[in-house]
Symmetry: C2
Subunit: 494 residues, 2 copies
């Protein structure tokens, strides 16, 4: 590794530079960077007792809690790699990811017994972990930006989840790129009320130690608690998805104090009505576009542009390049649509154990996002279609192909198409259009029951409609946008 | 080059992201980032007409002026490399650096005719450059962090100037490392009243485009003008050396407005008296330690620690590691003195055309600074002796060996030793202790006259004393600290 790829061990350096600064506030507990380092070191030593070594994969199935922070940084101090497991998945989904990632130990907690009780590999409950003996370790003084820090699963158009490899460099460049856009104020306190197992949450954790910034951690999103932090505890930034923002605005009686400087909103552009509400109530909103493969936001729209560039995702972060391609080798002109490509030091080095998908998706450093969009004449990005068929429901990504695969595994189903439809509460929800095998008697309820054990609840179709034939193109590929227009027509009529 | 070593072309990206933000204020002129980009592109196209190509070395002998900014960024857009020439050097010093660096063209201005008229290589006056025809170029969309951006000469203990290679990555990591320490506020305006040919000035230029921050450029340091910028034009940061700070405090009648947030002070620790003055007058001072080889500051002391840790240089920037070695392979314990070593992605890749010096000074990424110091129990650095014999006079580095070499080249001089003595105005000034050859009649005045053509004025000894023999150790190496104590005794008595 060259000198430019080596930096000090992040948490150790932060504890050295600003030991007494508050790193995390969780409920009534305040933890300084030195305390965080000490706690993480204890966890690292306890994991060592359990046989975990450098570069081992450690599964993490936990809820947002200060314990989860200690465990995640403990894994980092050891040089092992955290495999983030979405705690809303089913047992079989988790089992698959654990196997695929070669995870040697799963750290979880009692709350998730319904999920982990059916798993086959080694499991350690966090309160048991914290009782382990410690085996002394020497924390490495430096890390390579090319080493892998974390693995998060994402499905994409194929329907099979793939483990995205996130290096320390990916997180570093994401954090510094975001800082160059949003600024760094010594009064900053970032509310993390999004899941830590998502890149939206984990990236806040990484920013905390890189910036030396206080993070206020919430177990989940509660608009009243969030408002309290902003009004009484000088919280200055929060990461949200649009449903959270709507709930927040709903509860506000007065404009926010001037100490609040930024709501970072992911998951698709906000409506004009919502943006106008934000202006009225003094909520500066930065809309963002990003994905697990880019270690969080890569394109953002500043509050001053949000109404003039309504519907835009904004401009890239400083270290990021953006390109629209409307052919194999042709770049689109302004206002021409095409596929969005992204390049930058925050882009993943690839997918775990999937060299061919990696080579296909990342060429000469350019990540093919699968999303469709265009740049306007000022270079603002407009995302028209997320990965053609990606459904974003309350901040969770849902890939139709994955649900279709499950539905089609039912013996009475011939074929199935899944699309996202608009929903006031969740933004979007998945619905399924299903073709039964001839002469079978399958009911909607049976099919939903069948899905429930196999799919996380938020992925189970909210509605199922039976149909005679699905629209397919010449290559027999499902044409989802036709399915969408068909849905709109029939459901409006019916 | 790997994806993590590639980022967008800095100035082109900045002009795309924030075209209308003010980049530079110089006298009555305001230049936005888009205008800066356009002007730099014109210069790049004019240099192309003159035959300058990618990776060519272009000498720059200019005073602080918006024109210099255009020229420096024009060189960058072309992918050529700026060789920074200190405009206080003599013709022969400059001639040497131009030859050593293989500079193909010197860009200068009429003011420096006394210097450049004696030079042998191709010269272009800036107002002539600006009249050249333009040859269209395509600005590269991206740059490698490993490419060389700039070359600055420094002498070190050997006395022979060496060209320090500074990559884009060095400047990038320096800028982001500084940001993580000082923060980035969207109201920031940085006064640059230090020379742009020094790393202290040039690093402000690079921060401007990386942060998207306004820089207020001054031709030189004038305390009244600086105060005006702070009080009336919301300037928030200034880089200074201690003499400037003293002059600034002297002129202040009232505490500075709260918009002013930082004086970044290089060139050795400040006195207790000066720090107390700063506290009284609301001037938050960040003391810094750094060098050309580290692309500016690497260790800083925050205002809140400055009195408790009086005399300390502070703690490293986040990406920087610090080590004190008191033996070939032994690291010093806290409070033990030794040589200061620095590692980080901002450390130079080496010296131009000097692989053996590079290998000697940088091992496994660790730069041997030649400076002596220790860490206290909290990890704060105390610099005890800068490169043993480095003299810092009004912010300029003076290397005794270089002056000794010139003095010894006089036919009547047997040997000479140069040391720095304290000076109220300049911090330090050089004085020489000289042994004449037997039977010669050399006078002090003759020796000073002899030096004037060969050494920049600030390097010419302020005093010359003749002596019979210089203190040398067993290896016949000059023992400068003995010379210093001898000086103190005799000069106090005398």
């Amino acid at each position: 590794m060259t000198a430019m790829e080596t930096i000090p061990n992040l948490l150790a350096q932060r504890a050295y530079l600003t030991p007494n600064r508050v790193a995390f506030i969780f409920e009534d507990q305040e933890v300084t960077f030195l305390e965080l380092y000490e706690q993480a070191q204890i966890v690292a030593e306890q994991l060592t007792t359990l046989g975990v070594k450098k570069e081992d994969h450690v599964g993490v199935l936990l809820r947002n809690h200060i314990d989860m922070v200690f465990i995640l940084f403990g894994i980092q101090l050891l040089g092992s790699i955290a495999v983030f497991l979405n705690n809303r998945l089913t047992t079989s989904e988790i089992e698959w990811q654990i196997k695929d990632s070669n995870t040697i130990l799963l750290v979880t907690e009692e709350k998730y017994e319904p999920i982990f009780s059916g798993l086959t590999g080694p499991i350690m409950l966090k309160h048991e972990l914290f009782k382990q003996k410690r085996t002394a370790i020497i924390v490495p003084e430096e890390i390579s930006l090319n080493s892998i820090c974390s693995i998060m699963y994402t499905s994409g158009t194929t329907g099979t989840p793939k483990g995205v490899l996130q290096t320390y460099g990916n997180h570093w460049w994401s954090a510094t790129g975001a800082a160059l856009n949003l600024g760094i104020y010594d009064t900053d306190r970032w509310i993390c009320a999004v899941p830590l197992f998502h890149i939206s949450g984990f990236s806040i954790l990484m920013r905390s130690i890189i910036y030396g910034m206080t993070v206020i951690l919430h177990e989940g999103f509660d608009e009243e608690k969030v408002l309290k932090e902003i009004i009484h505890n000088r919280a200055s930034i929060i990461s949200v998805v649009s449903t959270m923002l709507i709930r927040l605005l709903d509860k506000m009686n007065a404009p926010l104090p001037s100490t609040f400087r930024c709501a970072l909103a992911g998951g698709g552009p906000l409506s004009k009505h919502l943006l106008e509400e934000c202006v009225k109530k003094n909520v500066p909103v930065y809309q963002t576009y990003g994905m697990t493969e880019t270690a969080s936001q890569v394109v953002t729209l500043s509050p001053e542009d949000s109404l003039a560039k309504l519907g835009s995702a904004g401009k890239p972060l400083f270290p990021v390049q953006l390109k629209i391609k409307n052919g194999q080798d042709t770049e689109a002109k302004p206002l021409e649509s095409g596929e969005i490509f992204i390049k930058g030091p925050n882009v993943t080095i690839g997918y775990l154990n999937r060299p061919s998908v990696t080579n296909e998706k990342i060429q000469s450093g350019w990540l093919s996002t699968g999303d469709i969009g265009y740049l306007d004449k000022d270079g603002f990005l407009f995302v028209q279609d997320r990965r053609s068929d990606l459904i974003i429901s309350g901040g969770e990504n849902i890939y139709p192909a994955e649900i279709e695969g499950i539905l089609q595994s039912h013996e009475q189903v011939l074929e199935a198409g899944v699309i996202g439809i608009e929903d006031l509460e969740w933004g979007q929800v998945p619905v399924a259009i299903v073709v039964k095998k001839a002469g079978t008697s399958l009911t909607r309820e049976q099919l939903i029951d069948f899905s429930l054990g196999k799919l996380a609840k938020y992925k189970v179709p909210k509605k199922i409609v039976f149909i005679d034939e699905l629209p397919r193109n010449a290559a027999k590929k499902l044409v989802r946008h036709k399915l969408k227009s068909w849905w709109k027509e029939t459901q409006t009529l019916g």
